[in-house]
Structure formats: structure tokens, C-alpha cells
């Protein structure tokens, strides 16, 4: 039955890939068409993803065998609740990023939108991949497009950031490739479901393979101590790409979840203790460094690193308290919403001021109060203030950590206070000490995505049951037995 269901979201990847080539070809003569192609293709991708979301809600897991080869041969594409929830977020934020970029990007549009579409292809491909080889290929597509976009401004900061990111990321993806080679040597297969069946627990290579994978994907997720690339890369890239980097990090988080639940099916509590340790370091280091920033993009980059720490804290606690996994998924959804909102607000500020330095932003133009309130809502959601989405997921994290280890609750609360501290600082500098008399109107293509994300923050804050239900639906279907059964058509 399952193989008769068409996986529409897979066609979203093909459409975005085609749009990348179309932008490059058509754009040579008519550069002005590039943003329209990107907006149309990301919107189509969103619609196709929502169609697959409907199918996954009805059937739990949707699979597709490309070329008709049965698994484990050929290419397997899988959409389960975990991947479709993240895919839906990526498609939505990707469409919004294309809208925000419409007025933000005023030169070299062909270059920008070609790379933008390729990053979307990479992220969506990672979320669809049912085998390790294609997972690696899509990570490479995502990475190569990112390196080029980081160097987009072609100034000293961008080029330096891009080269650093390229070297560090090549090292990390090299580790992923090495671990894939080890896995293939042990099992003779690259299909994730098949690896899960054949891997066993006896080989002495497993801890090394898992360590290599966790380093590689931890780098993508910007987990401390593999996070150093993110602030430089975000600062070097055009501001709307900051939101895309949040999505790229979530793809890294997804890959780690996939390795834990599907490929290795980790039940060893000690492994989760390490995740808790890394998450605490990520939360604290991200927040303390955000506190010391004077550049809004660097501040938001460190803030997003800190929020990824919360996701992994909940995930690590999940092994000890079942509700932790629900909190991790719910917080992942919320982080995507409020972090994108903050990056889009930053894009408007930088578009108006011509600089990402908070002091220069405050001196340049006077922004509409709507932007100030939107930024404030995004920051308060990140802090975890009641009636906003961040509160709902953080509350579950506080409660679950309280039952497992109260010290973790105190650390989580402390980092929330630090979040409030750098949020107050950013808001105060950019909006309350603004001395400019020149006013700036927010372009409608920038305002609409911001307002929709503000509404999402408030809606999930006053109706958190929806987020909890979605997260529980994901958690109930995390066990790899469903995944393996569906891939092999059992």
C-alpha cells in the first residue's frame, strides 16, 4: 500500500534544483527574473511538502524507491513524522527567506538565488535521504552552496569567513565520509534501514564510527566545541541567509536524531550523558558569547547556538524521562520560528542601516515600531516568556530536567536569564537609543513573513497543545522498527 503513495515533497527537491539551473541560465540575460523564480519555486516546494505532510499524518511513513529498485538496492527516499515536520518548517522558512531576500538583495541576484536554491536542495535532500551516501551528497551540496554565499559580499570579512568555513566544514564532512566507509566495510550496505538490521552491537569499530558521525553532524548543528564556524559564516553571508543557517543547523540536529533512533538505535544511557554535557556547554558558551557581541548577526548566531543547546538538553534527558523527546521536537519547531523571525528583523535593520553593527544601526534610520515589537516578541520567545512559543517548550524542558537532575533546571533557567540580558542589550541599543530622524518604511515582502512568524510565536504560545501534539506524533513513531518495516515493505 505504502509504495503507491506519491511522495510530492521529493519533487520539491527537483523543482528547486531545476530553479537553480533556470536562474543561472535565464538570469544571464534577465537578472530581474531571478527572485521571481526563487519565490515561485520555494512556494511550490512548500505546497508539495504540505501534500506529503497530509500523507504522513494518514500513513505515518511514506517511502519511495527511485528507479523501481527494491530496498536495500537503489535509492530509498523516506518521509516519516520526524523528517516531514522539519521539512515543513524548512519549506516554510525557505519561502519566507526568498520573500525577505526580494528587496534585500539588490546586486548579483543570479549568483545569490542560484546558491539560495541549492542550499534549499541540500537541506531538503538531507531530510529525505534514506541512505548514507545520498545523505552525504546532499550535505556536500548544502555546504558548497553555503561557502559561496558566505563570500557573497566579496569583502575581507566575507572571504575570510568563507575560507575558514570551507576548511573546517571540509574536515567535518571528511569525518562523515570516513564513518560511512567504515559502516559500508562492516555491513556491505549504505541503506539506513539495512544498516540498522546488520550493524549489531559487537564490533569494536562502532564507538569510533559513532564518534566520527557525531563530530561531523555536531559541526553542522553547531554543537560546542564544533560551533566556531557559525558566527563568522552568519556575519559574512547576507542577513536572510542567517535564517537558512538556522535551518542548516536543524538539518544537522535531524541527522544526529536519525543516527540515534534509526541507524544505531542507541539505548546506552552513558551516550545520552555525553549529549547532556555537550548541550550544557553549548547553551552556556552560546549565551555568554552573545552577551559580548556588538554586531547583531554575530549576536543572533551565538543565540541560535545556545538554543540548539536547549534542544540537545531535552533530547539527552529524553533517555531518562520520556517527555524529554517531546520537548526536544517542540523546542526545535519553536527555535526555527523565533530564530528566523529575529534574523528577518535583522535583515530589515541591516537593509535600512547598511551595517550589522548595532551602534551604527541605532544611528542610521528610525525604524517602524512594528519592527521593534516584532524583534521584542522574537527575543522574549527565545527567553521563554509566558504566552509565547518558547515558553511552552522551555517549560517542558524545565519540568523534565527537574525530575531528572534539578541542577540542569537551574542551568537552563540561568541561560534563559542570559538570553534576556543580551536580548535587552540588543533591543536597547537598536531601538531605544536610536537618535536618527530619518524614517524607513519596511518593504511589504519583508513585513509579511515577519508578521506571520510573530503570529506563529503568539499562537503556539497561547495554544501549545498543537505543538505538543505534533511533537508527540513524531516521538511515537521514532522507533526504527516502523522505519525499517516500511522501507522493506513489511
Amino acid at each position: 500500500m505504502g509504495d503507491k503513495i506519491e511522495m510530492f515533497s521529493f519533487y520539491a527537491i527537483l523543482i528547486l534544483l531545476a530553479s537553480a539551473f533556470a536562474t543561472a541560465v535565464i538570469g544571464i540575460k534577465r537578472e530581474g527574473v531571478a527572485p521571481y523564480i526563487a519565490i515561485a519555486s520555494t512556494f511550490t516546494a512548500l505546497v508539495l511538502t504540505l501534500l506529503t505532510l497530509r500523507d504522513v499524518i494518514a500513513n505515518r511513513i511514506v517511502t519511495m524507491q527511485i528507479g523501481g529498485w527494491l530496498a536495500p538496492y537503489g535509492i530509498t527516499v523516506v518521509m516519516d513524522p520526524l523528517s516531514i515536520v522539519i521539512t515543513s518548517i524548512v519549506a516554510t522558512i525557505g519561502f519566507f527567506a526568498a520573500l525577505v531576500s526580494f528587496r534585500f538583495v539588490e546586486e548579483r541576484k543570479v549568483e545569490y538565488y542560484t546558491l539560495f536554491s541549492l542550499i534549499m536542495v541540500g537541506i531538503l535532500g538531507v531530510l529525505h535521504a534514506g541512505d548514507m551516501f545520498n545523505l552525504f551528497v546532499f550535505i556536500e551540496i548544502l555546504s558548497i552552496a553555503s561557502y559561496s554565499l558566505v563570500a557573497y559580499h566579496r569583502d575581507k570579512i566575507s572571504i575570510e569567513a568563507s575560507i575558514k568555513y570551507l576548511i573546517m566544514s571540509s574536515f567535518a564532512t571528511g569525518l562523515i565520509l570516513l564513518s560511512i566507509a567504515f559502516i559500508y566495510g562492516l555491513t556491505g550496505t549504505l541503506n539506513m534501514a539495512d544498516i540498522a538490521l546488520k550493524l549489531g552491537t559487537e564490533s569494536g569499530l562502532l564507538p569510533i564510527i559513532f564518534g566520527l558521525l557525531l563530530t561531523g553532524f555536531g559541526f553542522k548543528a553547531a554543537l560546542v566545541p564544533f560551533h566556531a564556524w557559525k558566527p563568522d559564516a552568519v556575519m559574512g553571508a547576507p542577513a536572510p541567509i542567517g535564517a537558512i543557517f538556522v535551518l542548516a543547523s536543524l538539518a544537522g540536529v535531524y541527522a544526529i536524531f536519525r543516527m540515534f533512533f534509526t541507524v544505531f538505535f542507541i539505548t546506552n544511557i552513558s551516550v545520552y550523558y555525553l549529549i547532556i554535557g555537550l548541550s550544557v556547554a553549548t547553551m552556556i558558551v552560546g549565551a555568554i558569547l552573545a552577551l559580548q557581541q556588538t554586531d547583531i548577526l554575530r549576536l543572533l548566531a551565538y543565540a541560535s547556538i545556545s538554543q540548539v543547546g536547549y534542544i540537545f538538553l531535552a533530547f539527552g534527558i529524553g533517555a531518562l524521562h520520556g517527555f524529554g523527546y517531546t520537548a526536544a521536537i517542540f523546542h526545535l519547531i519553536n527555535v526555527a520560528i523565533f530564530d528566523s523571525l529575529l534574523f528577518f528583523c535583522a535583515a530589515v535593520l541591516i537593509h535600512g542601516a547598511g551595517s550589522s553593527d548595532m551602534h551604527k544601526i541605532s544611528q542610521s534610520v528610525r525604524f517602524s515600531p512594528i519592527l521593534g515589537y516584532s524583534f521584542m516578541i522574537g527575543m522574549l520567545a527565545a527567553v521563554g516568556v509566558p504566552l509565547l512559543n518558547g515558553f511552552a517548550s522551555k517549560w517542558i524542558i524545565y519540568i523534565t530536567t527537574l525530575y531528572v537532575q534539578p541542577l540542569l533546571t537551574i542551568i537552563a533557567l540561568l541561560v534563559s536569564v542570559l538570553t534576556l540580558a543580551y536580548g535587552v542589550k540588543a533591543f536597547y541599543i537598536m531601538f531605544l537609543t536610536n537618535s536618527s530622524k530619518k524614517r524607513m518604511r519596511i518593504p511589504i515582502t519583508m513585513l509579511v513573513p515577519i508578521l506571520i512568524l510573530v503570529a506563529a510565536c503568539v499562537f503556539l504560545g497561547i495554544y501549545p497543545q498543537l505543538g505538543v501534539q505534533i511533537s508527540e506524533f513524531v516521538v511515537k513513531n521514532l522507533a526504527n522498527i516502523f522505519y525499517i518495516g516500511k522501507v522493506f515493505g513489511i
Binding site: 574536515f171 564507538p207 564544533f226 552577551l291 541605532s362
Partner: protein, 103 residues
């Protein structure tokens, strides 16, 4: 029984942390006070008022960061590529050793 007090407990801890944070800011201003001559800024012979420079806002937490030595973490993020690569490798090796030990 305990569950009823959990929201109150969490809210109280949150409030205490904010109070401690504010207290730390006040204490660190005493330990590392901003010198008066640091507030004067001359540009082309003209004295610029402090409020127009936004210096207090940008260095809002500087006294506290100095007092708690939190700037150590910033120094670790020197921008030096070699140190970043070494950090990644060190993290990877330690993780693998830990996994070999607990697997």
C-alpha cells in the same frame, strides 16, 4: 503534592537568578568602575556627548564580564583557524575515547 509547587519553584528560581544577575552587575561596577576619562570622546576637536555615543549600552555587561572572567571564553574564540581545527579534533578524540569506554 510536589507537582503543585513545581511552577512556583521554577518561577522563584528564575526570579532569584535575575536578582543575582542584577546584584552581580552592581557589584562588578564597584570592582571594575568605568573611569571618567573613558567617557570623554573628542572627534576633530569637538567633544561628543556620552549619550550620543551609546557607549554605556554597548558595554552594558562589560564590568560583570571582567569580574566573572567570562572574557576567557571570548579569547578562546580568537578567529585563528588552526585553534578552531585543533578544538574540533580534540573534541572528536575525547568523544571517541568516551564512547570506547562506555560502549
Amino acid at each position: 503534592m510536589i507537582a503543585e509547587f513545581v511552577p512556583l519553584l521554577i518561577a522563584s528560581v528564575f526570579a532569584i537568578i535575575i536578582a543575582v544577575f542584577a546584584l552581580l552587575m552592581l557589584i562588578s561596577k564597584k570592582i571594575h568602575p568605568t573611569k571618567k576619562d573613558q567617557r570623554k570622546t573628542f572627534a576633530c576637536g569637538e567633544e561628543i556627548e556620552e549619550k550620543n555615543l551609546n557607549i554605556p549600552a554597548e558595554s552594558l555587561y562589560n564590568n560583570m564580564i571582567k569580574t566573572l572572567r567570562l572574557d576567557v571564553i571570548r579569547r578562546w574564540h580568537s578567529g585563528n583557524l588552526a585553534s578552531y581545527i585543533i578544538t574540533i579534533m580534540l573534541g572528536m578524540v575525547l568523544m571517541i575515547i568516551y564512547f570506547i569506554y562506555v560502549w
